[in-house]
Point group: C2
Chain length 390, copies 2
C-alpha cells in the first residue's frame, strides 16, 4: 500500500512524505495524520475481557480463588470467541496489530483473529495437572501439538505456552520445549512474577527461576519470558547469553502488587530484547499499549529516581517490536498538540487511534472498523459476559 | 437540568433512573451513557500545554534551565490565553469541569475559562524575586490582590499561590497568607516535592517543610498543599490537626523522578482531604484525570505491595472532590465493557468522554464541544506554540 502525505516515525526521525507499506497498489491518504508502527502486545490472555472488573480490588489469591478460577471453569468455546472479538476491538481502537496470547480454547481466539484481520501467536496454557480443558499434561501437550500441526503460513500462528514453573513439573516443561523446537515456534511462560515464586523455586531446586529454567534447557533463542520482575544479575547474564526475550508487563505487576520492578535498563544494557505486554484485561484492566508505554516509563523513572530512564523512544521500540503494520493518530488530536515532539506526545499524552493498516489491508479507517460489525460484536459480548458471571 | 434515563454513580452504588443536576428545566437524554461526577483537577499550570513535549527526557534541572525557563520568559498574555484554551479542550474531552491553577498572566486563563464554560480557581505564582511578570514580591502580591478584588461570584475565582518555600522568604509567605485570609480564599503552594527540598529546609530551619509552614502560620483550613510526596508522620498529624488539604500528583512525581511516594493511606487514615492533580502538561504530559486515577492507584499498590490499596472508589473520590458537574461515557465504549463494575472500568480502563454538563449547561454533547469553536482554538494554539518555541 502507498501511504500518501504521511508524517511518520522512521525509527530515528519524524519524516514527511509518501511511505510504502505492503505490496498492494492501493493508496491511503494520511494527510493530517501521524503514522507510527502498530503495537505488538507481547503478553495477553485475550478472552479475559469477559471478566474485566470482576472481583476488582481483591487480593491476588482471593481474586483468583473467588472470581477468576470459578468463572473460568464455566468457559465455553463460544464465550472465548466472543471475549476475543471484544478484545480485538479494543486492540484495533488503541493501535495494536499483533499479540502473543496464552489462553484456553485458543482455536476460538484464532478464528476471531482471522476474522479481525490482525496478527497473533497463540498458545494453550499447559499445566501438569488437569483443567476443565484437558485431562492432564499429556492431553494439554497433545492439544498444543494439534494446534501446531494445523498451522498455515499467514497472520495467525501458534506457540507452546507452559503456564509457569510452579504449575508444571520438570517433565512437562521439558516436553513443552521439545514441542517448541520440533515445530520451530516460540516457547512462552510466566516467570519470576512474584517474590514468593522465586523463593519457592530456590527452596525446591537451590536455583532462582531463570537459573532453573536454564538448567533444564528451557532458556534459548525461542524462549519468551513473561514478567521477569524479580531477577538476579546472574539471571540477566544468562538471559543475554542464551538470547532469550523478555516481555515486561508493568501495569499488571503494579496492579497485582507483585512488588518487584523489572530491571529494564540492566536487561537492555545486557543486550536482551525486551517487549511490552498488557497481560489480560482482568489484571490491567485494559489492552491499551499507549498506556502501557507511559506507565512502564513512569515506573522506571520513579523507581530509579532518574527522569531520563526509559525514555519515550525506548518505550515505543519495546511496544512495537518487529511491527510491519501502521497505526494513525490525527495530528490535530488535542493530546498530540503541539508538535514539539510527536514521539513524546504519543507515549506520554496519547490520542485516539483513527486508522489501522495490517498486512496491506485497512482494518480501521477514520475511526470506523471495516473488518467486521463492531456493534454486533459488542452485543454478543455483553450476552456472553452476563452469562459467564451469572 | 433533568438527566433522563441515566446510569449513574451516587457515591455508593450504580443507580438507573432520572437525575437532577442544576436548576434549569432543560432535559438531557443520557440513555446508553454512564454519568459520573466530572473531575476536579487539583493542580495545573494550564497554559503549559504550549511546551508539551519540549525538552522531554532531560533531567529536571536541565529541563527547567534549558527549556522551560527560557521559554517562559517569552510568554505573552495572548500566548497564555491560547495555551489555556487548548488545555480546556483537553479537560473537556477527558471529563474535567473544575481545576486549581497556578500560572502567569492568570487573568488570560480566567478569560479562557469564562469562554469555555468550565470552573476554575486561579492564582499567580508568587516568588520573592522578580520575574518577567512582576518586579518583586511586593509587585506579585499587588497583582494577586488586584485579582482578588476583581472576583465576582461565578465559575471563576482566584486564590493566593506562593510558589514554594524555596522560592519565597518568610516575609513573602506570611504576607501571602494574610492576603488569602483577608479575601477568604485558598492558599496553595508546592511543598515537599523532592527530598532535596526537605533536606534543604531542615538544614536552614531545623524543621521539615510542613512543620516549618506550620511554625509560620501557613498551615490552616484554607491551605492546599501540592505534592507532599515526602512527609514525616509528625507532618501528617499536623496537616490533619490544621485541617489543611493535600493534592497528590502521582504522574508528575513519577515522571520527574522525585523519588518519594506520597503516603496516601496514612493521610486518608488521619482524616486529611486528599485530591488529585495532573500538574502541568509539560510534566505529565497530559491533563487527563482518568489516567491520573489509574496511575495513582497503581503507584500505591506497587509501592505498598498491596493490591487492595488505593482502590477504584478511593481514586474516583479523590479525582472528583466537591464536583457538582457531570461527565458521560458511552456504556457501549469498548473500554467500559463488560458492566461488572463500572467504577473499576472508569478508573482502570477508561473510555472516551462524550458529554459534559457544567453549571447547568451542556459544554460537550455527543463528542462535540458546543461552548466554542474547537478547530479555531487548535489553529490559534499551533501558531502560538510555534512562535513560543521558535
Amino acid at each position: 500500500m502507498l501511504i500518501r502525505n504521511a508524517t511518520y516515525y522512521d525509527g530515528r526521525n519524524i519524516v514527511k512524505g509518501d511511505l510504502r507499506n505492503g505490496d498492494s497498489d492501493e493508496e491511503f491518504d494520511a494527510m493530517g495524520k501521524f503514522a507510527f508502527p502498530a503495537f505488538n502486545n507481547g503478553h495477553t490472555h485475550l478472552a479475559m475481557t469477559l471478566m474485566r472488573g470482576a472481583g476488582d480490588g481483591e487480593k491476588l489469591q482471593e481474586w483468583l480463588d473467588n472470581t477468576i478460577f470459578p468463572t473460568e471453569r464455566r468457559l465455553t468455546p463460544e464465550l472465548v470467541y466472543r471475549g476475543s472479538m471484544l478484545g480485538l476491538v479494543e486492540m484495533i481502537r488503541t493501535g495494536t496489530s499483533n499479540f502473543l496470547d496464552m489462553y484456553y480454547f485458543v482455536e476460538e481466539t484464532a478464528k476471531a483473529v482471522e476474522k479481525s484481520g490482525l496478527r497473533a501467536t497463540l498458545g494453550t496454557p499447559i499445566t501438569s495437572f488437569g483443567t476443565p480443558y484437558y485431562k492432564d499434561a499429556q492431553d494439554a501437550l497433545r492439544i498444543a501439538e494439534r494446534q501446531l500441526k494445523s498451522m498455515k503460513p499467514g497472520r495467525v500462528g501458534y506457540c507452546v505456552a507452559p503456564h509457569s514453573i510452579y504449575l508444571n513439573d520438570e517433565e512437562t516443561l521439558y516436553r513443552a520445549k521439545e514441542l517448541a523446537d520440533k515445530y520451530n515456534v516460540w516457547l512462552t511462560l510466566h516467570i519470576s512474577e512474584t517474590r514468593k515464586e522465586c523463593v519457592d523455586c530456590h527452596e525446591k531446586t537451590g536455583m532462582w527461576p531463570v537459573e532453573y529454567l536454564d538448567s533444564i534447557g528451557l532458556l534459548a533463542e525461542n524462549t519468551v519470558l513473561i514478567h521477569a520482575a524479580w531477577l538476579t544479575k546472574m539471571e540477566i547474564r544468562r538471559i543475554a547469553d542464551r538470547e532469550a526475550s523478555v516481555i515486561h508487563c508493568p501495569v499488571s505487576n503494579m496492579k497485582l502488587a507483585s512488588g518487584g520492578v523489572m530491571p529494564l535498563h540492566e536487561l537492555l544494557d545486557a543486550g536482551v530484547t525486551v517487549g511490552l505486554g498488557t497481560d489480560g484485561a482482568s489484571s490491567n484492566n485494559s489492552l491499551d499499549m499507549r498506556e502501557e508505554m507511559k506507565i512502564g516509563s513512569l515506573l522506571q523513572k520513579s523507581h530509579r529516581w532518574d527522569a531520563t530512564a526509559a525514555n519515550a523512544r525506548t518505550m515505543l521500540r519495546m511496544a512495537t517490536l518487529g511491527s510491519n503494520d501502521l497505526a494513525f493518530i490525527s495530528l490535530d488530536d488535542v493530546r498530540m498538540l503541539p508538535h514539539h515532539d510527536l514521539i513524546s506526545n504519543l507515549v506520554y499524552s496519547g490520542g485516539n487511534v483513527t486508522d489501522l493498516i495490517v498486512d496491506d489491508r485497512i482494518i480501521m479507517k477514520g475511526g470506523e472498523i471495516l473488518a467486521f460489525d463492531e456493534e454486533q460484536v459488542k452485543r454478543d459480548f455483553l450476552d456472553a459476559s452476563a452469562e459467564l458471571l451469572k
